[in-house]
Symmetry: C2
């Protein structure tokens, strides 16, 4: 008797399981059930369909060689029976069958299984203010959503995105590409909580504001106002009222766990379906994966909810291996995330500083600015990178970055390093590739590891932009030592009464201009000269010198 | 008494040592000596100056903030005495001093040291045919070379590059950008020996030929002909004669070891100065680094010569740490190399298959083709990636890739993985970042690791393009099963009598058209459908089925 596998969910995780399983077990009976008409589409591509970069929705639903992934495709290429427009209503674990309903005909029928796979995914969180279902208010979760938004966009110039997370950023990006004026309202004091630490999130917002996107942080949306005709006309927050006839709600997603719950399968701490490392639920014949399950975080050791297509795909392979009897385990995630918004690339892996501290680590953050390729090479851009390490051991706990340059490469390298337990010191020596179109002789990853190592050794005392700003606002007494060239210091002057300008090349000869009894904070554009200045001052016996980490590149405020 | 350090060589490795050492030891006396007028310039940028992408030579000699790195800069910013236009003639190890000569005045003088650092670099190999020093014949090693080439380029339409290594490729690239017709002559049967395995080198050459670059492989240059006026007019090889009034000789570099040798310091097996992991020569007070030393290869365990700026920079930091008494070791290299030629990115890390076998490993190579980002995302490009693993353990020994897409990221991730001893199976699960502008939900690194793992498990039997070509040329009897769509198979047909076209979607229903007693080799554009076809056939009981690795993307020959 051949194994009979029923997979609930046919968007991303489900099809991955089915495809791999078919390659492993030519004779297994594989049935995939999904409520939608459209199956196996690239949901992560939706913002790019909205932006116009993807021109036809079928591109998200086709193989790279142009074949639409519909039930016929699944049958012909995979011998998988795909029942779309079909909802699974319940699971009978004793009988080992699911009860399904054809959403077209209303017909109900039982589908028996040997192994059941839950790939039920997630759905957008609908905040209370969005429950009145006004016209002009959209989510960004399904191809239909995008088609609805595109139909509504005509003649509308301004849009409000509610939620400054990943989807919110990609939605804002898409609407800007559609020539709209975009405002982003975020409940928390920063965007991208859990993805970027505060100073990087601020630096990103700062840059996006320069390009015309407006941000309202720390503001709670209280209602979406009806224009009297059932269409949204205004987003009202606790702080203001924004005219808007187009609103995208991107308040996060929540796992679809109802089916699992009703079958008595337990949820984990993160609210999603609990699975072991073999991706089995509490019922050994029922597996689950993708956006509906919780994950184990490889650094914090905690359960987390990381609804990401990349995780779902890797889990799909592991799960299929287990179904086929090739025991395989999915150890966990780093929460690695990359995204693009306007001309900025950004991403993170592992833990941020606060997350690491919450997880019990003594965590140190180190921020640098660096050229992503040889500074003389055309197209060279600057990136900010931050490394989070454990004090003492130097073990890498996390990394993140933003910039117009190649951040993604460094995030992937650092994700790989974390996976294998690298310490900052190890990273200073990894033999990464260099040629001017790709890197600097010292890659930004090396610079980052070097700076971290310098901190560990007491060579570098850094201060973050947030720390310096707080000191300035408190009115602390210190010297803000600007070591840029005269030309640079004049072109973009820092307006602060504590400022002293001495170009690095003159510093050794002008030490007597600096008081020895005062705290000195050195600044420059990238943080490299300010570090050299710190070493000169430390070498000359100055006791309390700090360097602004990431330099003015990392400074998320005005200079005056 | 402060430490007195003399550094011989002021281009790349030397300045790195000096800068770091100054930050560690504020009071040390640091003297750097170089024969050139120009010091501390980015030699790796020369091809891009030649191409016109770098517009002014001073860009290669300036900091990112526009300050020229001349002796004054070194004194003012680093308190390093830079003696340029000065040659070190000899080392007196007993007295601990070097004898130097000012090349302007002819004055000779002794410079005592506590610690001596040799950063004497490398120079181009001058093959016998180039010894007649004809006009129009150049190397690409110094800014003056580029200025000479640029002066000679006027009115010349064709150029010959002798040597198909890294510099040869970058030279060819630069000359093509200068609108010249370029021929590359290479002694060996393939370009980039030691960087790319044969099938990738061939695929690259194939693509460059499509763009008009001509290659003459396996041809030995016998002479450069004089036009009678002391100018080159022809490159003569054992196979042909090429008109040429511009010739760039890129026959590799050799370490400058004469100074070390004359002081009795020993050379290593690779012909360069032998150093231990602290970068000390046989004399504990004399250190060496950069292009003049041999390195330890972290995978092969052998001594190798890897003259790369990235290595020199990382060594500079380690060496300075040791001079300052912070014991630090440079464990070795992977030989990681990345480069760009026309619109192709390429690179490698660790060992190729043949290199791995020579080093005693049972090595397996696995080649894939993959989209570098979501196939529906604008600008998505295809790359070829190859993983070299140890049979059995699956330990990653090396990786390489070429393509118009982002190869460099994957090479760096794989370099990091090799550093930490990753096995292919580990790589299938590394949490790399995904978003459509950066990757696929399964990154090419995952695809590569998955394919390798499938091979290990016996699920995938691959055949390389070279293997298939050899079988075809031998006239072997087998079925070449093209599983592309009808449309694809018609658009770019394969002309072979063994061909049978059955699109993947029809294969399950047309199995009876295939003989069960014959070897079957499945082909498709990327290698994914051909693998699926293999699994279908294997599942149906066909015994001898192989899939063409890397698909037609990796096929470096004509299709007919």
């Amino acid at each position: 008797m051949e194994l009979k596998v029923v997979i609930v969910g046919g968007v991303a995780a489900g099809p991955t399981v089915a495809a791999r399983l078919r390659r492993l077990l030519p004779e297994a009976e594989i049935i995939m059930i999904d409520q939608g008409r459209l199956v196996s589409y690239g949901r992560c591509g939706l913002p790019f369909y909205l932006s116009g970069q993807v021109r036809d929705i079928s591109q998200l639903n086709a193989t790279a060689y142009g074949v639409i992934r519909d039930p016929e495709y699944f049958f012909k290429e995979k011998r998988v029976r795909m029942l779309n427009r079909t909802r699974v209503l319940s699971i009978d674990r004793q009988k080992k069958e699911v009860c399904a309903e054809n959403l077209e005909s209303g017909e109900r029928f039982a589908v028996p299984y040997d192994k059941l796979v839950l790939a039920t995914g997630a759905r957008p969180v609908v905040p209370p203010f969005a429950r009145n279902r006004l016209k002009g208010v959209f989510f960004l979760n399904h191809p239909d959503d995008v088609q609805d938004i595109l139909a509504a966009i005509e003649g509308v110039d301004e849009a409000v995105v509610i939620g400054g997370g990943l989807i919110g950023m990609e939605a804002a990006d898409a609407l800007v590409k559609r020539k709209m004026l975009v405002s982003v309202v975020e409940l928390r004091e920063q965007v991208l909580t859990g993805v970027l630490d505060r100073e990087l999130a601020m630096a990103l917002v700062n840059r996006l504001e320069e390009r015309g996107v407006e941000f309202y942080l720390g503001e709670k949306v209280t209602c979406l106002e009806d224009d009297g005709a059932g269409h949204v006309c205004r987003v009202v927050t606790n702080g203001r009222s924004l005219e808007a006839r187009l609103v995208i709600v991107a308040a996060g997603v929540q796992p679809n766990v109802e089916l699992a719950e009703s079958a008595g399968l337990s949820k984990g701490t993160a609210g999603a379906i609990a699975v072991n490392e073999y991706l089995q639920t509490g019922d050994p014949d029922i597996y689950a994966l993708g956006d509906c399950v919780e994950n184990y975080h490889l650094v914090s050791g905690r359960k987390v909810y990381t609804p990401l297509a990349s995780v779902a795909n890797r889990q799909g392979r592991v799960l299929a291996n287990n179904l086929a009897g090739w025991k395989d385990s999915f150890k966990g995630v780093l929460g690695t995330t990359v995204f693009k918004v306007l001309d900025f690339n950004a991403g993170s892996t592992g833990l941020g500083v606060e997350q690491a501290r919450e997880a019990g680590f003594k965590a140190v953050g180190t921020l640098i600015a660096a050229h992503d390729r040889a500074h003389y090479y055309p197209g060279s851009e600057i990136i900010l990178l931050k490394l989070v390490t454990e004090e003492g051991s130097g073990r890498v706990l996390g990394a993140q970055g933003i910039g117009t340059g190649d951040v993604g490469k460094r995030i992937d390298v650092l994700a790989c390093a974390i996976t294998f337990g690298a310490r900052a010191e190890d990273l200073t020596k990894v033999d990464l590739g260099f040629a001017p179109p790709f890197s600097m002789p010292m890659d930004p990853v090396h610079n980052l590891a070097n700076a971290t190592s310098n901190k560990q050794k007491g060579l570098l005392k850094g201060i973050s932009s947030l720390g310096l700003k707080a000191k300035m606002e408190r009115g602390d007494d210190f010297i803000l030592l600007d070591v840029r060239t005269e030309q640079q210091a004049k072109a973009r002057p820092i307006d602060d009464r504590r400022l002293k300008v001495i170009p690095l090349g003159e510093l050794r000869d002008r030490l007597n201009e600096l008081p020895r009894d005062k705290e000195i904070i050195t600044v420059c554009p990238m943080g490299a000269r300010s570090y050299n200045a710190l070493r000169i001052l430390a070498g000359a016996g100055f006791k309390d010198v700090k360097s602004l980490e990431g330099g003015l590149q990392g400074w998320p405020y005005e200079l005056d």
